[in-house]
Every structure is written in C-alpha cells, then in structure tokens.
Amino acid sequence: MTLTIPRLRAKAARGRRRRPLTLVLATAFLVLVAAMGLLAPVLAPHSPDETSLLNALAPPGTEGHWLGTDSTGRDVLSRVMHGARLSLLAPLGVVLLSLVLGTAIGLLAARAGGWVDAVLSRGMDIVFAFPSLLLVILSVAVFGPGLTAPICVLAIAYTPFIGRVVRSVAIQEGARPYLESYRVMGFGELRVTLRHLLPNVLPVIIAQSALSFGYALVDLASLSYLGLGVRPPDADWGSMISQAQSAILQGSPWSGLMPGIAVLLTVVCVNLLGEHLGGSISGKRSEET
C-alpha cells in the first residue's frame, strides 16, 4: 500500500501537467492583469492623470507611450494598468458578497426544505427575473454615483446564480449516505451541513463564482461607460471607453480600443477558467459513479 500511493500521486501530477494550452494562457493572462493592477504605481511609465496636450491622441508605438495617449494626452498604458485595479476589485467584491449570500441561501433552502425552500427559491427566481444592469442603474438613481451601492446591488442580483446551483447540488449531495453516518455520530444538522456538506459543494460554488465574475466585470464596465459608476479622475476600463468616444470620431480609436480589449480578454479568460473548473468537477462526478 505504501508503494502504490506515491505512484498514484505521480500519475495525478502528470495528469495535471497535461492541461489544455488555452487554460494555461487564460490563467497566465489573468495573473498578468492582476499583477499589473497591483503593481501599477510601480510599473506604470506615467501617472494616469498626467496630461500633455501636445502629445494628445498619439498612436500606439509612440516612444514613451507604448499604447498611445488619449484626447488629453494621458498615457493609455498607465491608465489601463491603474484601471485594472477598480475593474477587477469591484467585480471581486460582487462575487465574494454574492458567494456568501448565495451559499447561505442555497444551503438553507436545500437542508430545510418545505416552505422555507419554497419561499427562498421563489425569492431567488424573482431577483433572477430582473436584468442586473437595470437594478444597478436604479441603485445609482437612489443612492447616487459611486461604486459601493452598485457592488451591493449587483451582489444581490447575482445571488440567485450561485444560490440556485448550490441548492440543487446540496439536495443531490444531501441524499448521499455519508451525511447520515455523521448524524448517527450525534452531530446536529448545522455542523453536518457546514463541515461535511459544504466542502463537497464547494467546487461548484467556485466554478459558478468564476463565471459570475465575468458577468459582473461587464456589468460594472457598462455602468462606468454610462457615466454612473466610477467618478473621474478615477479610471476604470468602462469609463476609459466612455471618455474615448469623441476620440473615435476624430479618427483615433486607440484610447478606447485598449481598455475594450482588456475587458474582452479578461472576461474570456475568466469564463474559460470557470468552465474548466465546472467541467472538471462534472468529469470527476461521472468517474466516481
């Protein structure tokens, strides 16, 4: 037995190395973007707010401004790097909040059943029925601009994404006999659910969270694009695209294109990662049975 187990581990490690190239690229890109955002103050060649009207609307490749400048001569690369912070942090906040809410509601609905389940599930359906962007715009109308209210409202809007999946997986897992064996050991429902059911539902939660991160990023970028999210001079990718509109009409689309590409690539990479996580989980399940 002691001999076979290292061999099994080695096999698992080899399997891990054979991951698809797209996944490796996606992960690498996300790490790069996150590092860029984190280290923006150190790495960025210019201050994001430093204007230079003489240098306005420089095309990419200009010396000192690798991605060009915008209509007031601010360095696009530096702004994209600084913008990554808000553009990534805000959706992260949304995901974390909705993850906690959704997991709690999903588990409660699955374990309690009966009318509790009915009320919670219908509640989630109702929230699910509203377009998230509409709710966010409504929140800005009520609470004024800024990111706090949109983050909280988006978190609520995304709760059903996670809650419904958690509920269905928890019901499925809850029927498995191992939970009964811990109940027989004299543990209460809460402990059995949190210590034994939750870890088995966790992979699904993580996969689902990765997907909603992508949606949240796009929603928040749209909000900033509409001028309702980040307030200038702070920059995120959405507001950069918005401010670049006039430049596009003047024939230099660069300053809007770069943050747009950043949004696009980040969302694609996050979705790839999320789908892989979700897929590998369902693959594991089918191997088991």
Binding site: M1, P177, E180, S181, Y182, V184, G186, G188, P199, N200
Partner: protein, 331 residues
C-alpha cells in the same frame, strides 16, 4: 410476571424494543411499517436481525437511534441502556448517539465524507464526546492499529478513496467503537464486501465487540452468516418478528415455515447437492400483507385458520415462534 422480569432486565439491556409499531401517513392514508416488534440485546450479546429487503429490519435498527421516517407515529417502547428513545428530545438523542450507540453501515465508501481525511473521521467522533483534540489525535493511531490497519499514522493522513472497501470498513469499525458504545448497530456491514474480506471483517467485528463488551444488533439478510456469529436471531417478515431462537437451533430446527424456506433457499457447499428451493411469491411489506399470518399467501402449510388473526407467539423447541402449527415444520 413476564412483564416484571422484563422491567428488571431493561436497565441492564443495551437495547430493548418492546411491542414497537410504526406507521407513516402517505397522502392521507396510514401505511403501517412495523407491528409489535420486540427485540432485546443484552450487553456483550450479539443478536441477529434477519429478513428480506423491505421486511423492516433496517427501520427497526434505526429506531434505536431515534431515526424514524418523517411523520412516523409509533406505539410501544424503545429503550437504549435505560434511555427512552421515542420520548427523548433532540438533545438527549444527540447525546445518546454520541456516547451510547454507534452504527456501521452497509457501504463504507458511501458512508465517509470523501473530501475529509481518515484521521478527521476518527477524531471527530472522539472530540464530539468531549475528548481534547490532542488526546484524540494521540488515540487515533491506536484505534486503527486495533482493527489491523498497517502504518496507522500514515493511514490517518490519507483520504477514503485511497483505501479498499474492506480497509474502509475497518476504519468505520474503529470509529464506531472509539466512543466505547454500549450498543453497536451493524446494518448489513459486509454486504458490499467480497466474501474473503467479509470473513475478516466479521471476525474483527466479533473480536472487537467481545473485547469492548458491546451489545451488537447485526442486521443482515444472510441467515447462514447470522447463525454463525449470533447468540440469538430474530427473523423478520413483513414488519413482524416471526421467530426468535438461538443461532445454532435456528439453523438446525427452524420453527417457522418462513425460516425454513429461507434456509432451503440458500445453497450449501456441504453434503449432497440439493435443489435450491425458491419461495413462491415475492416479499411483502406490512401494508400489503394479508390479514392473519402475513406469510400465509406464500406458506406451503397455510390453512383457513391462518387467516384468523395474527398468530400469537408460542414456545416451540428452542424457539419462540409466531405460527399456529410449528410442529408441522419439518426440520
């Protein structure tokens, strides 16, 4: 007279189920599942509960933990080492499950949380009982050593999927006995294992149970296995106990036609080749059983009198049997 004696022994018994009837209501109508089941397990005694699927044997063993189906209504009594289980509140029940009763399940692989290490499984039961985490960690390797797992310290760090079914069942046994329970419920503990592993696990279970002085209720559909290891055996059919006898005598001289039919239905490797006799009809649940003796539809000896009320228990040879004419059941 008899009741007085029972009351005296109740304090000593690990498990005392007396006249337990259980019904659930499904869409407005009552569906009876158990009727007048009485099972007694003394400390240190091994008692078999044998019956086909759906006869209510698992339900009976679970009633000792207070784990009844939703909306179940019961009459009769279930007492585990002096504690009234049916009347107990949640706290008492949990306390009972933590300290006095343990259960071993049919499929060990399905009964241990797959994402937690074996060590977590073992220490969790101990810690729930109030043992400090350090002490629990110290005792865990000994527990595994006792059930014959090599390299217990290494085993504690492994996950359930790295073990074979037999090894995992040993882990479950170690966990179940770690709290020194007074009653061990073994619900078909060897059904999911292959035959050689089955023998090892049963042997281990028996040794451990004797060493700890635990009373064991061994639920199985395998009459031969039960006869081999049990001091006494109850045979269940359609939610009722139809015969009670010591292990050896049940095997030699069954007193109920059902017991006899069960014995004839299992092939034997010894002696002359005999045709295995199937029992005609299919096993019934209590709700669909005929009036009178539940077995009369399938019984070769059935007469009209069998339909008149449930046969009372009577002594016949070494057995207590619910049959009107046990003397006609040829050994």
């Amino acid at each position: 007279m008899l009741q007085k004696k029972e009351a005296e022994t109740a304090r000593r018994d690990a498990l005392d189920i007396s006249g337990l009837s259980l019904a659930v209501s499904r869409s407005g109508t009552d569906v009876p599942l158990l009727a007048g089941v009485s099972v007694r397990v003394a400390r240190g005694e091994t008692v078999g509960l044998v019956g086909e699927s759906g006869s209510g044997k698992s339900l009976t063993s679970r009633s000792a933990l207070g784990m009844l189906p939703r909306g179940a209504r019961t009459t009769g009594g279930v007492t585990v080492s002096g504690v009234d289980v049916l009347g107990a509140d949640r706290r008492t029940l949990r306390e009972l499950r933590r300290t006095r009763v343990s259960m071993i399940f049919q499929d060990p692989r399905a009964s241990i949380n797959p994402v937690r290490r074996v060590g977590d499984y073992l220490t969790e039961g101990l810690r729930a009982r109030g043992v400090s985490s350090r002490e629990a960690a110290e005792r865990a390797p000994d527990l595994l050593d006792q059930v014959g797992i090599r390299d217990p310290r290494g085993a504690l760090r492994r996950f359930p999927h790295e073990f074979s079914g037999g090894m995992l069942q040993r882990v479950m046994i170690a966990g179940a006995l770690s709290t020194e329970p007074e009653l061990l419920l073994a619900d078909e503990p060897t059904t999911a294992l292959d035959v050689t592993t089955q023998a090892e696990v049963v042997g281990l279970l028996k040794t451990m149970q004797e060493a700890h002085g635990t009373g064991m209720l061994f639920v199985t559909h395998d009459l031969d296995l039960a006869a081999a290891i049990c001091d006494r055996i109850y045979v269940m059919y359609a939610g009722r106990i139809v015969e009670e006898a010591t292990g050896a005598s049940l095997f030699r001289s069954p007193a109920h036609p059902y017991t006899r039919a069960l014995l004839e239905a299992s092939p034997s490797v010894h002696g002359e080749k005999a045709v295995v006799k199937a029992i005609r009809g299919r096993p019934l649940a209590l709700a669909e059983a005929p009036s009178g003796c539940s077995f009369r539809d399938r019984c070769p000896l059935a007469e009209e009198s069998c339909a008149e009320g449930v046969p009372p228990y009577r002594a016949h040879g070494a057995s207590t049997v619910a049959c009107l004419r046990p003397e006609e059941v040829a050994p």
